[in-house]
């Protein structure tokens, strides 16, 4: 188990290093450059050259990358001149807020999607299944910005019960102090997730209900309820674990569209604005954070698998 973890963490490190190299290269090969973006159109060539020299942008890229990694290891993700704050600071302001939104919507999605998927599987090819399938497809096919707009129109214009804008608080506590503002962005995010998750749960449950072990369970004279909940559900939830693992990076990156739509000052918005302004330090910093989250998410999913499925052995030690 320990050896397995060490092995996986080693692999994770390699992936993260590769991601930083690629991100670094792409960003520095882009035309325009950071100097022009930072100093504006009026800057003279001398000013640009001086800026590049100060920042080390005139050195060979391999050297620049070396410097970048060195700073990275000291927890320094760089400094954003456009925001006039360090990248670490910029991210640490927004990340907790994004996580609040993502966690809430994921929880909501799981709580609703699992029962929906189970109902569909148990009543498959009958009206509850068809109804939920149709709604899922509708939700899945609707662009999220359109869904968000419809939500705003419906619940804050036509029937004004909720604010159209997400909480603007600076800290997590302030954000949570305005729960009404969180409802629309959370629900908007959750709807698509529910559609996806319930499909996975449905098909996994349908497969499992046709397995021989379920027939064995029925032969013991168990009630249908017990057959579904005690025997089938656990095995039917394995795909959700994979989905959750894949969802972890989204927890960090934030939902770009929804954050913009509801004007929520989270990671998604930060990344989007940095991309528009060529704010390289922010872009790189966010990319590194997300790549770490992706790798960790895959690892967490594997560990969860081992925890719930006894057939999965995490080899690498004598356990």
């Amino acid at each position: 188990m320990v050896r397995y973890l060490i092995t996986r963490l080693g692999q994770a490190l390699i992936v993260v290093v590769l991601v930083t190299v690629i991100a670094f290269l792409i960003l520095h090969l882009l035309p325009g450059g950071a100097a022009r973006a930072t100093l504006g159109k009026e800057a003279t060539l001398e000013q640009l050259a001086a800026f590049n020299h100060d920042m080390g942008y005139d050195r060979p890229w391999i050297q620049q990358y070396g410097m970048y990694v060195q700073r990275l290891l000291h927890g320094d993700l760089g400094y954003s001149y456009q925001l006039n704050q360090s990248v670490v600071e910029a991210i640490s302001q927004r990340l907790p807020k994004t996580m609040v939104l993502s966690l809430l919507s994921t929880l909501l999605a799981i709580v609703l999607a699992i029962p929906l998927g189970v109902i569909q599987a148990v009543r498959r090819n009958r009206w509850p299944d068809y109804a939920i399938t149709s709604l899922s497809l509708l939700a899945y096919a609707t662009p999220i910005f359109f869904m968000g707009l419809m939500m705003i129109i419906l619940f804050s214009q036509v029937w004004p019960i909720l604010p159209p804008e997400a909480p603007q608080g600076f800290t997590v506590a302030e954000v949570l102090a305005d729960p009404a503002g969180l409802i629309l962005p959370t629900v908007t995010l959750a709807i698509v997730t529910i559609a996806v998750y319930s499909r996975y749960v449905r098909s996994a449950m349908v497969d499992n209900l046709n397995e021989n072990y379920v027939r064995t369970a029925r032969s013991k004279g168990l009630s249908e309820r017990r057959v579904v909940l005690r025997h089938t559900l656990r095995n039917g939830l394995f795909p959700v674990i994979t989905l959750l693992g894949m969802y972890l990076p989204a927890l960090f990156s934030g939902a770009l569209v929804v954050e913009s739509l509801f004007n929520f000052p989270g990671m998604g918005q930060l990344f989007w604005q940095a991309a528009l302004k060529r704010d390289f330090p922010i872009l790189l910093g966010v990319t590194v954070i997300i790549s770490i989250a992706t790798v960790v998410g895959a690892l967490v999913a594997d560990l969860l698998y081992a925890a719930v499925d006894p057939r999965v052995r995490l080899r690498g030690s004598t356990s």
Binding site: T7, R215, T216, S219, G221, R311
Partner: protein, 707 residues
């Protein structure tokens, strides 16, 4: 109630005891998208307390549907549409659902075919076994666990107090089937339904499980319904037998009566189609009786006897008259039954093992022909696979010794049978012989040429000589290719002839395997198992090989279809001078097909010799155990055997036992067995320090003459 009363059917008087279970005119339909299949049509059966009723039939006969109807476990779309299921005098169809569920959970138990998939993979053994107690008897957690341990001990599970905390994947197939049996018995049911309980297991394990069910039946005083396709299993275990065909019971009688004197023409034909019968009847390798055609489509309305289209004795009357079961002890639904055998007790044919081996057959002489170069010669063949243990670093943790120094030869036109249980390496030998895998060490010679000495192109040409025939031909064909493309592919790959020549060749192939030209435009899924095996055989023949390696070629087929394919393989051998390596776990089939037999155990060849010598006068204890475990249609033959019984499980091939690999399970093992015995002998070789019998003088003389 005297539960253990067994109805003595030969006594000719009805027993005073009420039947435990009675099916009256049971109809079961299964609604599918393309129509409704009438899976059962008026099935009537009785099971007396304490009795074992064998239900036997081929696939689609309705035997499993009968079991599932009783248990209320029909697949989606299935429902019992008529008749009564009387259990302990009450009709399960008219009881409230809760009551029925309780009855099925407590008073009945069921064991299914595939132990590998029949247990919940993520639930501990103890929890699964004790679940009926917890649900139906409201037993507490601790007591449930104790009772789970107790019942596991009674089904012969070693170390049950540890096993309860294990998960199913940690147990072997045989052990899992014991768990399934324990689970079915935990509430002490009156009736156990076992649906093909040993079909997925090896013969030696099968024997252990069948004996366990027999013992438990007496111990619990319960009745057993044993559903199987295997007539041998039924003959050895059942008190009475019901033969099913196309959703109906066609004959029912006491076991001995039925096998001694079958009345229905279908039963008669089925028994004749067994390789065992052919060997016993004529001594030599006679042609098998094969039932032509296929069972009827049960989604169509049927009139008359359902076996009529395939029957030798059919008359017009059969096609129009609906025959019902006759009354009495021996019931049959046949207008032209086999004449009844004399009432006097007939001496049963002696069990196969006791038979002498008198046959100086032409086949064995052929095998020993000195001049001919062997088509295939394998010397000291070794194949190891790396066993990975190091997680994602994939460090090699050891080696799986799949084949460990196997040598044999196959002469032109000869059939070499390779038998052994799963995991013994017989399939690996086959794959090595056809060049699908490369050996770790050792030599493979085709027609006297060492294939290791050949380069890519020559090697490919050489491999034309050897072709493979698969167990599951459907899986071995591209489902998106038509039969014409499937048959043309080997010719295209080897660049044989032009389009016209290839078409002509394909037409010849179809004639050879007895298929019409119309099959060419169809896809694999449109064919039955027997037809697919014919197409598979045709494909193997396309390049005119001299040797075909058949890996369990008839194991997935019903008896009647199996006979068709075996006959075809024989005919082609005679016409084309083919040699076969016939790999199978089924000793009776190998016995029928092979001139010489090699017995494998855990990667080693433990015995090689002429087929009749190996089967009738086995020299290795393992071979004898294997032979003793094979169920025979001679009633009680299995019970009468007192030969070698092996216990326990196959050791891991990662660290196989040193010396003789069988010594860990061998009743005769002594210290010397820690050194490896060589394969010794002239014509009938054995690798054993304590062979059961010396080589028969005939065998060595034959070998001497050949040398």
């Amino acid at each position: 109630m005297s539960e253990s009363t067994v109805r003595k059917s030969s006594a000719g008087q009805p027993a005073a005891v009420q039947p435990l279970l009675e099916l009256r005119d049971l109809d079961t339909d299964i609604a599918l998208r393309r129509g409704t299949v009438h899976a059962l049509d008026g099935v009537s059966l009785e099971v007396m307390p304490g009795e074992t009723l064998g239900v036997v039939g081929e696939s689609g006969s309705g035997k499993t549907m009968t079991a599932l109807s009783i248990m209320g476990l029909l697949p989606p779309g299935g429902r019992v549409s008529g008749g009564q299921i009387l259990f302990e005098g009450r009709d399960l169809r008219s009881l409230p659902a809760d009551e029925v569920r309780r009855t099925r959970g407590v008073r009945m138990g069921m064991v299914f075919q595939d132990p590998l998939t029949s247990l919940n993979p993520t639930m501990r053994i103890g929890v699964q076994v004790a679940e009926p107690l917890r649900v139906h008897e409201r037993v507490g957690r601790a007591e449930a666990r104790d009772r789970a341990i107790e019942i596991l001990r009674r089904v012969g599970m070693p170390r049950p107090e540890r096993i309860v905390d294990n998960y199913p994947h940690e147990l072997s197939g045989g052990m899992r089937q014991r768990v399934a049996i324990a689970m079915a018995l935990v509430c002490s049911p009156r009736l156990l339904i076992a649906d093909e309980p040993t079909t997925a297991l090896d013969v030696t394990t099968q024997r252990q499980i069948l004996e366990l069910i027999d013992d438990l039946r007496e111990e619990f005083g319960m009745a057993v319904i044993l559903v199987t396709h295997d007539l041998g299993v039924i003959a050895g275990r059942a008190d009475r037998v019901a033969v099913m065909y196309a959703g109906r019971v066609v004959e029912t009688a006491a076991t001995e009566q039925l096998f001694r004197s079958p009345r229905h023409r279908y039963t008669e034909a089925l028994l004749e189609a067994l390789p065992e019968s052919a060997i016993r009847e004529s001594g030599a390798h006679a042609r098998l009786y094969s039932i032509p055609g296929l069972p009827p489509d049960l989604s169509r309305p049927l009139t008359g006897c359902r076996f009529a289209p395939r029957c030798r004795h059919v008359t017009d009357e059969c096609r129009t008259t609906d025959v019902t079961l006759s009354t009495g002890e021996h019931q049959h639904a046949c207008l032209h039954p086999v004449p009844a055998a004399p009432a006097a007790p007939v001496t049963l044919p002696a069990p196969v093992r006791v038979e002498p081996a008198p046959e100086p057959a032409a086949t064995t002489a052929k095998a020993g022909q000195p001049a001919a170069t062997p088509v295939l010669s394998v010397r000291e063949l070794v194949k190891n696979y790396a066993a990975h243990g190091g997680g994602l670093l994939r460090r090699t943790a050891g080696q799986v010794s799949a084949v460990a120094g196997v040598s044999f030869e196959v002469g032109p036109g000869e059939t070499f049978g390779l038998v052994g249980e799963s995991g013994c390496g017989k399939s690996t030998v086959g794959r090595l012989a056809v060049g699908l895998e490369r050996p770790t060490a050792g030599q493979i010679m085709l027609d006297g040429v060492d294939i290791a000495s050949l380069t890519g192109r020559e090697r490919r040409r050489m491999h034309r000589q050897v072709q493979l025939m698969f167990q599951d031909s459907y899986a071995a064909m591209n489902p998106r290719m038509r039969v014409d493309a499937i048959l043309a592919e080997p010719l295209e790959i080897q660049k044989v002839g032009d389009g016209t020549a290839r078409r002509a060749r394909i037409a010849t192939l179809l004639d050879q395997v007895g298929l019409s030209r119309r099959v060419l435009e169809r896809y694999p899924h449109e064919f039955s198992g027997g037809q697919l095996q014919r197409i598979g055989l045709a494909r193997s023949l396309a390049l005119q090989p001299r040797l075909i390696v058949g890996d369990e070629p008839v194991s997935a087929l019903d008896v009647s279809i199996q006979a068709q394919v075996l006959n075809l393989m024989r005919d082609l051998q005679r016409e084309l001078g083919l040699a076969y390596v016939f790999i199978s776990h089924d000793l009776s089939v190998v016995d029928y097909m092979a001139d010489r037999i090699g017995v494998m155990y855990l990667g080693k060849l433990v015995e090689v010799g002429p087929a009749r010598d190996v089967v009738r006068a086995a020299r290795h204890p393992y071979t004898q155990a294997l032979i003793d475990a094979v169920p025979s249609i001679t009633p009680n033959a299995t019970a009468a055997r007192d030969g070698v019984t092996i216990r326990g499980e196959l050791p891991s091939a990662v660290n196989p036992p040193t010396g003789c690999r069988f010594r860990t399970r061998c009743p005769l093992a002594q210290e010397i067995c820690e050194t490896e015995p060589p394969l010794a002998g002239d014509g009938h070789q054995v690798a054993c320090h304590f062979p059961l019998r010396p080589e028969s003088s005939e065998a060595s003389a034959r070998a001497g003459a050949a040398a």
